[in-house]
């Protein structure tokens, strides 16, 4: 199991289209991907867009990513990259 903290940097936050990208990416991996706001205990399934949307992670929010499974290393690397790149909106 891998854990990492990432900050949402794009202007619009984790909005619907950004969430969609995260879902698409997470779904490629066999590992389970959970995300959680640093300031809340609600855990979201990164493969469920509705689940991610309920997090209401706006710009500047730090989220905690927990990945576990056979391809967890590659999954974490790519997901971190996507979020740090601001979902291609920077």
């Amino acid at each position: 199991m891998l854990e990492s903290n990432v900050k949402i940097v794009n202007q619009l936050g984790l909005h619907a289209r950004a969430a969609a990208q995260l879902v698409k990416l997470s779904s490629k991996f066999l590992s389970s991907v959970k995300i959680q706001r640093a300031d809340s205990n609600i855990v979201a399934d990164a493969k469920s867009i509705l689940s991610i949307l309920t997090l209401a992670a706006s710009r500047g929010t730090t989220i905690n990513i927990t990945i576990s499974g056979t391809d967890e290393e590659q999954a974490l690397e790519e997901i971190e990259k996507l979020i740090n790149a601001g979902f291609g909106e920077l």
């Binding site: 289209r17 509705l50 209401a56 706006s58």
Partner: protein, 583 residues
């Protein structure tokens, strides 16, 4: 039987009739639906419907996504991901199975639960996802409509909704629909046009009705008076069933105090003015909805003193009432007197003699006194000047010259006065025939219907021997009014009807149908006229008038009025108030 007690909600009737039934609340915007309880063996089929709708929506989104540019296709991709998120369909299926309800109803509940979460978000960008979510759910609901639906309305259903779409009404009319109640919409909404065609009682403008009624509630809708009665007592039900059985309704005086601008059911604005001579009366008139004084008969001052009052006396009287009326404005008619009123001379035929504007011109000094008093009083006040019994345009032109010369004199004395608005009474046949030309020379016109009938039909209104010839509904009278209204519309100036007709409920209805939009009356008639006009549609009154216009005799018109008014508005007019056709 009913635990909840009876209460009434006032709306606007847009399709007449009485209905007694049970409420079915409609939801949704693009496709409207309602809660339906399923039996155990319908559930599997309902889930199939739902899955088909999901598949249909997803394939639509894929197809649409392909033909859009990148940003747009990303939006549709997002929508697709929402539908493909298994938690969504699982939640909906759970509700269908658990509550044994239709898919639409389950979708509504899931949608609401997500929206309630999104609404708590503070970030505006994140709030925007509400729209995406609603959009997706709407698509899903539409897809559900594409398949074979098992929905059917129960007997005696009355649909209650914010709005009802015409397509929804068409879809639901197949069932035994009894009536419609909505919060929005008006007489001319397509839905209500359809409702009237189907004789389906309908009421609109029923504020917050959806919060006050729920599916299954027993209601009565009185599509005559625009009243919704929830949880009716059995005595109330008996009362309305009885009404339903006797097709024609009896008149009930249920005065509705409508504040604000008077409008017909289909939204035509009608202005109401008072015929008034004293300043104190205006307060009362204004309370009842008068928008100014449409006719101030200045000879009233004369009658009090038995001589023409001097300039200052007139000035003070005009100023006092104009101040009381304020910005609403007052139309002051110059003396409408006969020679007999001002001297010992008598005439063979005073109605056709030296009177009104004619007397003013023969006694030009006292006319100038009145004009000066009016001009002085108009400083800071909204006074318009109205000339009685004009029969030739030269009278208007001459008056203009007099006003202008008096205005200039006052100006040299340091009084800055704008040229006041000038109007004429249309009450003699020559004025009717020349009305198009007259309308070019004045700022407004007033129809004095009593004198118009007298002069047009050559009937002395005070001579009992010819009483049977004094016919307010003579075809020639209707034609004359129509001609005057047409001319004023063409010239873009207002016409105010200020005779007896304006204050009579039956005549006022006909006037509205003829296109009249300004009525001036004794202020005591205002409540009743407001009550009537707010409950008729211009469209209906116009249809009645079209029929009246085909009549050739007074008798025919009068008979038609009685017949048509009973057919359409027996709830508004007691039978004894309708004109009796004189043979």
């Amino acid at each position: 039987m009913n635990i909840e007690s009876e209460f009434r909600i006032q709306g606007r009737a847009v399709s007449r009739g009485i209905a007694i039934g049970r409420v079915v609340c409609l939801h949704g915007t693009k496709r409207q639906f309602f809660r339906l309880n399923l039996t155990e063996n319908q559930i599997v089929n309902e889930i199939c419907r739902l899955e088909t709708a999901f598949n249909l929506s997803i394939s639509q989104l894929i197809k649409i996504g392909k033909v859009q540019n990148e940003t747009q296709s990303k939006i549709f991709e997002t929508h697709r991901l929402i539908l493909e998120d298994s938690t969504l369909i699982e939640k909906i299926i759970f509700i269908i199975t658990d509550q044994k309800v239709n898919a639409e109803w389950a979708i509504k509940q899931v949608t609401e639960s997500y929206l309630s979460i999104y609404k708590t978000f503070k970030d505006e960008h994140l709030k925007e996802r509400q729209n995406d979510f609603e959009d997706v759910m709407e698509r899903l609901l539409i897809s559900l409509g594409g398949g074979e639906t098992q929905i059917s309305l129960e007997k005696n259903s009355i649909i209650v909704a914010k709005d009802v779409k015409p397509s929804t009404l068409v879809e639901l009319s197949k069932f035994n629909l009894k009536g419609i109640v909505t919060e929005n919409g008006g007489w001319t909404s397509h839905t209500f046009i359809l409702a009237r065609e189907q004789n389906l009682p309908a009421i609109t403008s029923a504020k917050s009705i959806r919060r006050q009624l729920k599916t299954g509630d027993v209601v009565i809708i009185d599509g005559f008076n625009g009243i919704i009665i929830a949880h009716p007592k059995s005595s109330t039900i008996d009362f309305y069933q009885n009404k339903q059985n006797h097709n024609t309704l009896t008149y009930e005086s249920n005065f509705i105090d409508l504040k604000g601008k008077l409008k017909t059911l289909d939204g035509r604005e009608i202005s109401i003015f008072a015929n008034l001579e004293n300043a104190d009366g205006f307060k009362e008139a204004k309370k009842l909805g008068a928008e100014g004084i449409g006719l101030f008969r200045s000879e009233h001052l004369f009658n009090q003193n038995h001589s023409i009052p001097v300039e200052d006396e007139q000035f003070l009287a005009y100023q006092k009432i104009a101040k009381a009326v304020g910005q609403d404005g007052i139309k002051i008619r110059t003396f409408d007197l006969s020679i007999e009123n001002v001297s010992n001379e008598s005439e063979e035929n005073p109605a056709l003699g030296l009177r009104a504007i004619r007397l003013a011109f023969t006694n030009i000094d006292s006319f100038r006194v009145q004009i000066r008093a009016l001009l002085r009083a108009s400083v800071g006040n909204k006074i318009e000047i109205l000339l009685p019994m004009v029969s030739d345009i030269s009278e208007i032109l001459q008056t203009r010259e007099i006003i202008e010369s008096e205005r200039k004199i006052l100006e040299t004395n340091g009084l800055n006065i704008d040229f006041p608005k000038l109007g004429v009474m249309i009450e003699v046949p020559s004025a009717v025939l020349m009305v198009d030309e007259i309308a070019q020379e004045v700022d407004f016109m007033c129809l004095g219907t009593n004198d118009l009938v007298q002069y047009l039909l050559a009937v002395d209104r005070d001579n009992e021997a010819v009483e049977n010839w004094f016919r307010t509904l003579h075809p020639a009278v209707l034609k004359s009014i129509k001609k005057v209204i047409n001319a004023s519309e063409k010239a873009g100036i207002p016409t105010i009807v200020c005779g007896e007709m304006a204050g009579s409920p039956v005549y006022a209805t006909i006037l509205v149908g003829l296109g009249v939009t300004n009525l001036s009356m004794n202020y005591k008639s205002i409540p009743r006229i407001r009550q009537i006009i707010s409950q008729i549609a211009f469209e209906e009154a116009h249809i009645v008038v079209k029929k009246l216009e085909t009549c050739k005799t007074s008798f025919e018109v009068e008979s038609q009025v009685s017949q048509l008014f009973i057919e359409k508005w027996s709830h508004l007019f007691p039978k004894e108030h309708l004109p009796v056709a004189k043979s």
